[in-house]
């Protein structure tokens, strides 16, 4: 059996099958990227924060545009070579095409990498700072210390973007406790010579896993009743224990925490719960049967009160189940908790922290600043909020935390801001001079919000150099000090010699409670980066997929070429059409993400 029109075209449609297929497939691809582009438009129109216009370094994107266009041309040459039955020529051009795909992906990778390692912080007053997070350690007294290059830290350094919590007691949810977090806590405790042990209960010698904790200090009658209860429960529990093949249900005091222990406890919890459910369901069914028999005409909502389980119904048949296990930290030491583990924001001086796996820590929040070398300060959002509240943005900005005495580095920022304001003043003067004023006397052109309210890394470096050389805005030399387009190929360049020498990127320690949102430049930071990564990521996957297919033609198709060169040419044509599409998508992506 042979499928017709795989090599030759059908007369009335003029197409071979794969070509029909690829055009249809590309139609669906248009809808796919169309959906994402619509998403971009929708998000940008409805954005309630300053959309990061022209936020990306243009050069890598520009180079990539030409690389892809070039590869689209060479893929056509490769196809034409096949049509002319020139194998070596085909190999040559196809290899160039795939090399272009490689260059594209490498540049993309560099861009991604720079963003993933670039921290952004939004403070609760909408000041935004960007920069590189420092490493830090907790010393033996439990104090926070930044680690700088060349330091010899005591202890394991962590990224200074964590929550430091001195825990006295930690309780774990049996069903959810997350293994790797427990491991991290255990190793941290060990490093600080502390351990997590099963929590002592008043008057008991350990935890009986079905929760039958007897208070031995109570009076004799109660105690006797309780003992009877515990015997009964123990018997039921034994039965269940036998069912799941688990004998030890008893955790003595001082048993150290381990994930294996929690896992065992979880099994027992689940089995106990299943046992209880079975018993209770049976009882409830009987109750409902009786209720229906007593009131044959009534709906469930009218008789629901009659069919309720009371504690007497279940006495002696069910077991108490523990769903959490608590451990004591002996002695209490600070634990470094990753910011992403936290379930809900922890206020200053909090005595409790909740993790996403329902682990709760009781103790005290320690000083947990986010320490970074700042390469940009952005007041655009703050200005927007000020305007919305009918306030003067400049006043709001200048009374913000970063310029206040509470910030130990405030002086540096004040100096930079002064220089910045001077520069904007000169810029506005220049704009009036150049573009004049309209009939009402207003300048025809003013500075943009980005110019006014944002000090980017190039600004910071320029100001530092100007400071050094004693040059000021308005002087001719000032403009020459600005880094050029080729500086910082993928973004702020912290290794730049001038930056290092002049300490052009000031330090900042943002206190824990000031941090409203902290994120690297990932999809999490804002919807612009979300759509940027989604669009370019999906496009990148298309590039990789296309390159794999074209690579297959290049490397494994000599046999087909000898047998049926026209067929191979068809395949390359179809692959080439796909490649053109991928190129076309980028031609739309580049302006909307990099230039607009």
């Amino acid at each position: 059996m042979e499928i017709p029109y795989t090599v030759t075209a059908r007369k009335d449609t003029g197409l071979f099958n794969a070509k029909v297929g690829i055009w249809l497939f590309l139609a669906s691809e248009v809808m796919l990227f169309g959906g994402l582009f619509s998403g971009y438009v929708f998000l940008r129109i409805y954005a309630d924060y300053p959309w990061p216009e022209r936020a990306l370094p243009v050069l890598p994107g520009l180079i990539n545009t030409f690389v892809l266009i070039g590869s689209s041309v060479t893929v056509v040459f490769a196809w034409a070579a096949l049509k002319m039955r020139q194998w070596r020529r085909f190999q040559f051009f196809m290899a160039i095409t795939i090399a272009c795909a490689g260059i594209f992906m490498v540049l993309k990778g560099l861009e991604y990498n720079a963003k993933w390692n670039h921290q952004a912080v939004r403070m609760d007053d909408f000041t935004i700072v960007e920069g590189h997070t420092h490493k830090a350690v907790i010393d033996e007294d439990g104090h926070f210390h930044e680690v700088h290059e060349g330091d010899d830290p005591h202890g394991t350094p962590f990224k200074a973007n964590a929550v430091i919590f001195k825990a006295e007691r930690v309780s774990f949810s049996l069903v959810r406790a997350h293994e790797s977090w427990i491991d991290s806590m255990l190793s941290q405790a060990e490093e600080r010579h502390s351990k997590l042990v099963a929590q002592k209960q008043k008057g008991t010698t350990g935890i009986f896993l079905y929760g039958a904790l007897v208070d031995f200090e109570a009076d004799a009658d109660k105690r006797k009743a309780a003992e009877e209860d515990i015997v009964k429960e123990y018997q039921t529990a034994e039965k269940i224990a036998r069912k799941i093949g688990e004998k030890s249900l008893y955790i003595p005091d001082g048993t150290p925490l381990s994930y294996a222990l929690l896992k065992k406890a979880r099994e027992i919890f689940i089995a106990g719960r299943a046992h209880n459910a079975e018993i209770r369901t049976g009882i409830l069914r009987t109750k409902w049967k009786d209720a229906h028999a007593n009131h044959p005409d009534k709906g469930n909502w009218e008789i629901a009160d009659e069919a309720k389980i009371t504690p007497e119904d279940t006495a002696g048949q069910i077991v108490k189940v523990l769903s959490t296990l608590a451990f004591e930290m002996d002695p209490p030491v600070p634990l470094v908790l990753n910011r992403s583990w936290i379930k809900r924001p922890i206020p200053a001086k909090a005595e409790q922290a909740e993790l996403r796996d329902d682990t709760t820590l009781a103790g005290a929040l320690q000083d947990s600043p986010l320490a970074l070398a700042v390469d940009a300060v952005d007041f655009r959002w703050m200005a927007q909020k000020a305007v919305e509240a009918d306030k003067d943005p400049m006043k709001v900005i200048e009374s913000s935390w970063i310029f206040s005495d509470k910030n130990e580095h405030a002086a540096e920022y004040k100096k930079l801001w002064k220089m910045h304001k001077k520069r904007i003043e000169k810029l506005e003067e220049h704009l009036v001079e150049k573009y004049k004023r309209d009939k009402l006397g207003n300048p025809k052109r003013v500075s943009t919000e980005t110019e006014r309210y944002r000090m980017g890394w190039k600004d910071l470096l320029q100001y530092a150099k100007a400071e050094e050389e004693g040059v000021f805005p308005g002087e001719e030399k000032f403009d020459d000090l600005r880094p050029s387009m080729t500086d910082g190929f993928t973004g702020p360049d912290h290794k730049n010699a001038d930056v290092k020498r002049l300490h052009a990127f000031p330090e900042l320690k943002v206190p824990h409670e000031k941090v409203a949102m902290a994120s690297a430049f990932t999809p999490k930071w804002n919807t612009y980066y979300a759509i940027y990564f989604t669009l370019t990521g999906l496009h990148g996957l298309h590039v990789i997929g296309g390159a794999l297919v074209l690579g297959y033609y290049l490397l494994f198709s000599k046999g087909l070429y000898r047998q049926n060169p026209e067929w191979l040419a068809n395949r390359v044509e179809v692959g080439g059409l796909f490649w053109h599409f991928v190129d076309l998508v980028w031609i739309f992506l580049f302006p909307i993400l990099y230039l607009m």
């Binding site: 809808m31 796919l32 046992h275 069919a307 924001p345 997929g545």
Partner: protein, 629 residues
């Protein structure tokens, strides 16, 4: 990747030529034969339909008998541990109800009806009806099936995860769906995320399938099979293919964005300053839009309705001419209608979103297009009804289903008209009226049409007829109990019953017994219908048992067909041996006329097959040969 697809099909086919006896696993499991793949799709889809039906029965129990433990005949499927987790003392909880509700919708739509209608029937019948040896890309066809199965298994697998399956409705609206299962640390192990991953597989499967169907129909039609000679079934598949091809990608976008939101913390669908009781102020950037999700979802969602519907209409449109011995009335208008319908289905989506407050201008536009789209639908239905006029109808089982389809789909369609209007929809939105409306379209509508197809083509697939008595035993109770199940929904909906009441209005009633709404009905008046409908559901389940028995047993004990064309039909699938071998046709197929040439005055017998050569005016020197079978 389609480039790969293009590369794929070639050498494989060469192989097949030399190995007619394929090993079992190649013939039935890793098969590239469109018929086997069609059957695989069909059986898998029927199993998923049964699962979806079961989920619905559990929900209906909770609605009819709230607070009462699930009876053991329903709960025995679960393990004790599962029951302890999801049934509180044996009762269906709100969470469980939500989970079953979301998965009932998802399974029925994406894993049941679309694969049964489009993929199973489309795969088996389309290449036969256009006289092709197979699909244009057989290996791609196989990949489509396996993608579908993987997607389905991911969805079903999520029931057994710690988080349970998705619980945010089959529409998976954000921001609700963004936070659901937020307590699961590894988001890839959360039911809500699994739903998205499953969807990505299902969508990929549909896209590959659509490309394949369209290419096959465009490029592999037999000699002489011009566009207007195509059976209506093929037209319907063509339009369905285009709908899938162009409507699914935006949903894939939505699924990808939601996946990003869930796994890497982006805020595509999260507005600024969102607060939840579980986690306080969400540490997310915000700035996104829940409305964006709804637009992307319903851009698929509405065409999807026609993806469900058209294959059923296609089956009915094939069954009717055969069993009335008359051409399909208004074939050409029907073809144009279905094309226009396909186009219009892309511009009506926001009528699902009147409640979001899009503004009067946008609403007016979508009201207008929605009312417009009823015109081609009515043309289709009317043409099929008129086709019955003056026919000598054979009341066999497929025809019964087809005949029942017409009024049932009619009810479904007509109850949709009021919903097209913004004002009425504001009242009826999310009530049982809406549930009743679209279930009339997809359950007694689409499913009846597909059952007609099953009974109609079963002899071509197996060489044996399904049993008529069991067929009647399947049909009549199904007809009655479907209506017993769905008609009360329309009444309840107008009285204001909300679709998400997991206890069927009980909790609401115990607080406000005397609620009166604009139609003058009260919830208290109609709550007694809850058990009635639920009994309709149980009995409907019972009425499917004859079908299951019939479907399995007839493979071996059914009445053998008298010849390859047991119905004296005219379309090309009846020109093949039974069951059709790999490669389908045993002679060089050529088409001489339109698809429904029944009872022609100028031709002996009451049918004139498409493949039969015309007799010449003067007696031929060589006798005209009958096609060999």
């Amino acid at each position: 990747m389609s480039a790969e697809a293009a590369a794929d099909h070639g050498d494989h086919d060469h192989h097949d030529e030399h190995h007619h006896e394929l090993p079992f696993y190649k013939k039935y499991i890793w098969s590239t034969d469109h018929k086997v793949i069609g059957i695989q799709y069909g059986i898998t889809a029927l199993l998923f339909l049964a699962l979806g039906f079961y989920l619905m029965m559990v929900m209906r129990w909770s609605i009819a008998y709230p607070e009462e433990p699930l009876p053991s005949w329903m709960s025995w499927v679960f393990s004790d541990e599962w029951k302890a987790r999801w049934l509180q003392d044996g009762r269906v909880t709100g969470d469980t109800y939500n989970m079953f509700g979301a998965m009932h919708g998802t399974i029925m739509v994406f894993l049941g009806i679309v694969p049964l209608g489009f993929a199973a029937f489309g795969n088996f019948v389309t290449p036969l009806q256009i006289g092709a040896v197979d699909m244009a890309f057989p290996r791609l066809n196989m990949i489509s099936y396996w993608c579908y199965l993987v997607g389905g298994l991911i969805m079903v697998g999520s029931f057994f995860m710690e988080s349970g399956a998705a619980k945010s409705g089959w529409t998976n609206y954000s921001p609700l769906a963004n936070f659901a299962d937020g307590q699961i640390v590894n988001q890839f192990l959360a039911g809500q995320t699994q739903w998205l991953l499953g969807m990505v597989f299902l969508i990929s499967s549909s896209l590959l399938g659509a490309v394949n169907f369209l290419t096959t129909i465009i490029n592999l039609r037999a000699k002489g099979l011009t566009w207007m000679r195509l059976p209506f079934f093929v037209w319907a598949m063509l339009v369905t293919g285009f709908l899938l091809l162009l409507a699914f990608p935006p949903l894939e976008v939505a699924a990808l964005m939601q996946l990003m939101d869930r796994t890497v913390g982006s805020s595509f669908f999260l507005p600024s300053g969102l607060y939840t009781s579980g986690a306080g102020i969400i540490e997310a950037s915000g700035g996104g839009s829940p409305l964006l999700y709804q637009h992307l979802f319903w851009f698929l969602g509405h065409p999807e309705v026609y993806v469900l519907l058209l294959p059923a209409i296609a089956c009915v449109a094939e069954v009717i001419p055969v069993n009335t011995r008359k051409p399909l009335w208004g074939y050409k208008p029907m073809v144009w209608s279905i094309l226009i319908l396909g186009f219009l289905s892309f511009v009506v989506w926001a009528h699902h979103m009147y409640l979001t407050g899009m503004g009067p201008v946008v609403s007016t536009w979508f009201q207008t297009t929605t009312v417009l789209i009823s015109v081609p639908s009515v043309i289709l239905l009317t043409s099929m009804v008129v086709s019955l006029w003056g026919g000598s109808i054979r009341f066999n089982v497929p025809m019964l289903w087809a005949l029942a389809f017409l009024p049932m789909f009619g009810i479904g369609g007509l109850t949709g008209l009021p919903l097209a209007f913004n004002l009425v929809d504001l009242h009826l939105h999310d009530t049982y009226y809406v549930i009743g409306h679209f279930h009339y379209v997809v359950a007694p509508g689409v499913l009846f049409g597909l059952f007609a197809g099953v009974y109609h083509w079963y002899p071509k697939v197996t060489g044996r007829h399904l049993d008529t008595f069991l067929g009647h035993l399947h049909f009549w109770p199904s007809l009655i109990f479907m209506n017993m199940l769905f008609f009360p929904m329309l009444v309840q909906g107008m009285a204001g019953f909300h679709r998400r009441w997991y206890n069927g209005g009980d909790a609401y009633l115990s607080k406000a017994e005397d609620s009166v709404n604009v139609f003058g009905n009260t919830v208290a008046e109609w709550i007694y219908l809850n058990p009635v409908m639920s009994w309709g559901a149980w009995l409907l389940a019972l009425s499917q048992i004859p079908f299951v028995i019939n479907f399995i047993a007839s493979i071996w004990v059914g009445k053998k067909i008298k010849n390859d064309n047991p119905y004296d039909a005219t379309t090309l699938e009846w020109a093949t041996p039974t069951p059709p071998p790999h490669g389908n046709f045993t002679f060089d197929i050529a088409v001489f006329r339109g698809p429904y040439e029944y009872s022609r005055d100028d031709h002996e017998g009451d049918f004139f097959p498409q493949w039969e050569e015309p007799k010449r005016d003067k007696p031929a020197e060589v006798p005209v040969e009958e096609p060999t079978r």
